[in-house]
Point group: C2
Chain length 205, copies 2
């Protein structure tokens, strides 16, 4: 059965049930799929920006994020691939801090499976969302507002060069519910390459 792996993965990752509940409880808010991704940039400077949750990679817990391959963070993440997501749900007062290793998947990847994931994530985005990768490089000085113009993209065309998929593979999840004042710490224990278990511990908030 195709969904078996995903279901088994969800079962073995107890925090995913909490996260799904939070997503459902806050689904009426557009920003409920927004979170802040912290990474470490040049000279050890912390960097932090809002990004959009693009779902989990199939049959595992990797969190998908779309980004522009031309943004500064790509080089920084390749250099130092650690990240921590801070995801605060404004209606249910729940926070998930999810730390793990980030994989940068752009068009230069040599792994066919990763290129396929990237293509899949590209087509899962709206056409409007895709068209932003045809605009000017982010963070470049502009003299006027000429960069704000309509760009048209062929809906059937595959990912453009500037499109990059990031996946964060969670190693630790720190969950706190500010209404019930409960905090749970989930830690992944790795044995070998393939099998991972999660340990959960109740800690003081």
């Amino acid at each position: 059965m195709a969904g078996g792996g995903a279901a088994a993965s969800a079962l073995s990752s107890p925090w995913r049930a909490l996260l799904q509940r939070a997503l459902d409880a806050n689904a009426h808010l557009k920003h409920s799929t927004f979170f802040q991704l912290a990474t470490v940039g040049a000279a050890g400077r912390p960097a932090n920006r809002t990004v959009v949750f693009r779902g989990f990679q199939e049959q595992c817990d990797k969190i998908q994020i779309n980004t522009d391959a031309r943004s500064n963070k790509i080089g920084e993440i390749r250099e130092w691939p650690l990240g921590e997501i801070c995801w605060y749900f404004t209606d249910s007062w729940e926070q998930f801090r999810i730390s793990g290793i980030i994989d940068v998947i752009d068009g230069s990847s040599l792994d066919p499976a990763k290129l396929q994931q990237r293509e899949k994530a590209w087509f899962a985005s709206s056409v409007k969302s895709r068209s932003q990768y045809l605009g000017q490089s982010p963070g470049v000085p502009v003299a006027n507002d000429d960069h704000i113009k309509d760009v048209h993209i062929d809906p059937s065309a595959g990912p453009v060069d500037a499109y990059c998929l990031l996946t964060l593979d969670p190693e630790k999840v720190d969950y706190v519910n500010l209404k019930s004042n409960q905090r749970l710490m989930f830690t992944r224990t790795q044995e070998g390459d393939e099998f991972n278990d999660w340990m959960a511990e109740k800690v003081s908030p």
Copy 2:
């Protein structure tokens, strides 16, 4: 005139007008004063958590945050005092990324002016907010919910040992408005010890 310094400071920091406008526009949302603070922890791991804006320090641009002196981040910030705030306003679709140096001000500070700031920030917090510093250390394993109990605090008593004030002194502010698709980069230029100017540049979003 007592307010002169603050007014002059606000004038010399053009991003503060934008931030104040965002705070006003989103004031109906409780979470509009919440932002995510990224720092770098042990072994260069990024750390990210939601904290509450406690206003600016008087007559300067330093951003105040209350925290528990017993939390992991205190040692981490002392070791590596750089931070980046990511402040997303969910109603006006504006993001401020504010990076700078963090000062940790707990009861052991030897600077009387800093101790006074800490005391002032303590009394500016609600009594309920103050009482959390009498609870168990954050992040400690708990066997049951005994830690959730009412603690009472004398409203006239000064800061307890566990109360720590953080101030972040902004050096760079990256502002983006997702409705107008405008992005501005503010950078502080330091000349000498006392006088700082801000440079603003329009960049592509």
